[in-house]
């Protein structure tokens, strides 16, 4: 669902962005702001200088990239993982714990350990809703969302309690060891190697989806679990479980990379909702991992620009959340309109392809 071949994806994406820009401008205007000034401030904040682009836009794009991949791979298999936010927190918690406790280890051991721990923790966080779906028949939409709230509050508890920095003043952990930190990617900037790691993950994921047996199974199950079984004896349950865990691991890695590359400590509200924005990132990229790199940078620019917009034009940065929602709605609408046109022009859609992976998703 929502994946397309190259040209359709570009058309849907461009049309969706244009629609979003128009609606956002109207909303800002209704709110009494000057849309042109807002756009100018956003542009300068995101792309105005090389420093802004590298140290703010690209840095901000890293969590979007990894969580966007998490959502893309899940949606490809028809797994409605809305839980990237909680999985990200699980990864961040594991990363900070390993990064502090493993201070005695050399960097070539500790740094990979931090990132692997983050991925494993994210996968573990996803395992609970995955098992609830497969063993108990509880749809994953609500359970993954509930797990987000558990994760956010658990992280808040840790930074106020057992993991609080030794002086006990600030609600955050102490900093991870130097050996646990990701080095800079561009010297003199805040951009860390995590960006390269994330881009590499996108390429690997694209290759796996396109060329491996598992990738084929993911696409088959996503198109129709019943047809996948009937035509190829593909066990949808096993594919769903593997995809769920991979998705959770990517989201967990997002949390680990943020800790190891940028903040070096866990604090309350580390993520302002990246796990939800990830849905917009993935949909705009038509669930294509390589395209997610582009849309993640776009959303990084949006976040970077939002800060500038608040400083220079006095528009609350939280507007960006509404804009993200608009992007999702615009993609859904243009996608639907394109689909209807294509269908009208060609053959009627096949029946099996439209069977929902699971009737009750509550």
């Amino acid at each position: 669902m929502y994946e397309h071949g190259g040209r359709t994806a570009w058309v849907v994406g461009a049309a969706a962005l244009a629609a979003t820009a128009v609606v956002a401008a109207v909303l800002l205007w209704v709110g009494g702001y000057d849309p042109a000034r807002a756009a100018a401030a956003m542009w300068s904040g995101a792309f105005g200088t090389r420093g802004a682009f590298v140290s703010v836009t690209l840095v901000r794009s890293v969590p979007f990239l990894l969580t966007g991949l998490a959502v893309a791979v899940a949606f490809r298999a028809g797994v409605w993982n809305i839980g990237a936010e909680g999985q990200l927190y699980a990864g961040a918690i594991a990363a900070v714990w390993v990064g502090i406790e493993g201070a005695a280890l050399p960097a070539w051991v500790l740094l990979p350990a931090v990132l692997i721990a983050a991925g494993l923790a994210g996968a573990l966080w996803a395992l609970i809703p995955a098992l609830m779906k497969l063993r108990l028949g509880v749809g994953e939409v609500i359970t993954t969302i509930l797990m987000n709230f558990v994760g956010i509050n658990f992280a808040a508890y840790l930074v106020h309690g057992p993991l609080q920095e030794p002086r006990g003043v600030f609600p955050q952990t102490e900093q991870i060891a130097d050996a646990a930190r990701l080095p800079a990617l561009v010297p003199g900037s805040r951009l860390h190697v995590g960006f390269a790691v994330a881009v590499a993950m996108a390429v690997v994921l694209a290759a796996v989806l396109r060329w491996t047996r598992w990738g084929f199974r993911v696409r088959a199950v996503g198109a129709s679990p019943r047809a996948a079984w009937a035509a190829g004896r593909i066990d949808a349950g096993a594919v769903v479980l593997a995809t769920f865990l991979a998705s959770g691991a990517l989201a967990g890695l997002a949390g680990g990379v943020e800790i190891a590359g940028l903040t070096y400590a866990l604090y309350e509200g580390l993520s302002p909702g990246w796990g939800y924005t990830a849905i917009a990132v993935a949909l705009l990229a038509a669930l294509n991992p390589v395209a997610v790199v582009g849309t993640a940078i776009l959303f990084g620019a949006l976040e970077a620009g939002a800060g500038a917009m608040q400083r220079e034009a006095g528009i609350p940065a939280v507007w960006v959340v509404a804009v993200e929602a608009l992007v999702i709605l615009a993609v859904l609408a243009t996608d639907q309109l394109m689909r209807t046109r294509v269908r009208g022009a060609q053959t009627p859609g096949d029946d099996e392809g439209n069977v929902s992976p699971e009737p009750a998703r509550a």
Binding site: V138, L146, F149, Y157, Y276, A280, A325, L329, G349, A362
Partner: protein, 308 residues
């Protein structure tokens, strides 16, 4: 334990259960028509801000409640236009509507009251004591010394039950959610019914938000809905899409959220953040133990008509 602690706990349980009950009963009607509205959270936060602004503008909490219901309905209308009108995926549309609701209410609030968020003092919805009933020992004041929105939820449960299971309209609504093709063949306007059921659910979620702002908190805060929309959707499952059981389940979850007060009274001092996580954990546990035994409407979450 002193009696007053238990009474305070029960009062808090009902006060916290009422918004869940209102939102979940509305969602039960929506889901009976075959639409799952994950954007409920957006309607709740919209209702909270609408309620706060309405009460501020008129100086009247009752007017605020109406404004809240209207705001919740408008948010649900966005969801309905996309998911029913354009037949977009209900899960993703609902997620977007929730995000949009949280973002826009935050933006409007900050624009109006400053980024630091001046603490608002609103005309509140005062508790109204029901003569006689509120004198019942233990549960009397908990159930019958509450804001008017609580009584609305008690009244709605049997009314909605009667509508769903004893009227021709209710039969139409359920038919649309179970077998839309058959319902259409019988002359029911499937999308029309779904549209109104979704708006009704949004209005009740808006009421829930207004209750939060005007009867519970006495102020508006960004993200104050705090995931209640999602818990309400779980409550619908636990209440088996039956308004009467939904009310019971919602009050039980209100009690879970109010446990904080009870445990503190017992001298058990769990960290605050773990208390905050408790309702979500309990919801997960309840879903795990319960869901296999209840059956959702057959056409739930499926776009209709299948082909255009």
């Amino acid at each position: 334990m002193p009696e007053t602690d238990l009474v305070l706990f029960l009062e808090a349980a009902v006060r916290l259960g009422v918004p869940l009950a209102l939102a979940a009963m509305g969602e039960a009607i929506t889901e009976r028509s075959g639409i799952i509205n994950i954007g409920l959270e957006g309607s709740i936060i919209g209702g909270a801000l609408g309620g706060a602004l309405g009460a501020l503008a008129t100086g009247n909490a009752a007017a605020g409640v109406l404004a809240g219901a209207g705001a919740g309905l408008l948010v649900a209308m966005v969801f309905a236009l996309f998911s029913i009108g354009l037949r977009t995926d209900q899960i993703i549309t609902g997620t977007a509507v929730t995000l949009g609701g949280l973002g826009l209410t935050g933006a409007v609030y900050q624009a109006r009251f400053g980024a630091t968020g001046t603490a608002l003092t609103l005309p509140t919805l005062a508790p109204m004591s029901v003569p006689g009933l509120s004198q019942i020992p233990w549960i009397g004041s908990a159930l019958f010394d509450q804001a008017p929105t609580a009584y609305l939820s008690y009244a709605l449960a049997p009314l909605l039950w009667y509508y769903l299971f004893r009227t021709a309209w209710g039969l139409e609504l359920r038919a649309v959610g179970e077998a839309p093709d058959a319902a259409q063949a019988a002359g029911v306007r499937v999308r029309w019914v779904r549209f109104w059921a979704t708006l009704f659910g949004g209005a009740l979620a808006g009421l829930a938000g207004a209750h939060l702002a005007l009867a519970h908190a006495g102020t508006f805060a960004e993200n104050m809905s705090a995931g209640r929309g999602f818990i309400a959707i779980a409550v619908v499952v636990l209440g088996r899409w039956n308004p009467l059981w939904v009310l019971v389940a919602a009050l039980l979850f209100g009690a879970a959220s109010a446990l904080q007060f009870l445990l503190q009274a017992l001298g058990l001092d769990l960290p605050y953040q773990l208390f905050l996580a408790l309702p979500y954990l309990l919801t997960l546990a309840a879903l795990a133990g319960w869901v296999g035994r209840s059956r959702a409407p057959a056409a739930l979450a499926l776009p209709w008509p299948k082909e255009r």
